[in-house]
Point group: C2
Chain length 80, copies 2
């Protein structure tokens, strides 16, 4: 079962990577208002049920994958 | 109009970040078969039509956001 986890910097924070990309694109005359940059993690789990998989993913997130002080995450099921 | 771009290392490549995360999780007794790590970019565009927005995003991708030799991307419309 494949899962995707999107981890983005919290809205209230200055996202330095996003600001850098935004600046570069604007300097080069691209039309955009904002840009934010985060991470995307694809996990392949052997869990049998969606519920168990989500519990397991949340444990992994808390363990090492994200920093709750500065980031938020969303989990999605992938059909690959 | 908000758009999300997922940029992942190509399947054929050794994804060193993903391998590191995978190793760490496995060492700590998490059950997973594989893990891949990529980037996620959120863009807010003023383009009026979906078609124009996608053309603009592809230009940005080619200009600076991804490396076609080692990465692939998918674009999705976000409802935020």
């Amino acid at each position: 079962m494949k899962w995707g986890i999107r981890i983005m910097p919290r809205e209230v924070l200055l996202d330095s990577q996003g600001r850098a990309v935004e600046g570069l694109l604007k300097q080069n005359h691209f039309q955009l208002s904002t840009c934010r940059v985060g991470r995307y993690i694809e996990l392949d789990l052997q869990e049998t049920t969606e519920e168990n998989a989500k519990i397991e993913i949340k444990k992994m997130l808390d363990f090492a994958l994200y920093n709750p002080l500065i980031e938020t995450y969303t989990i999605e099921r992938l059909n690959l």
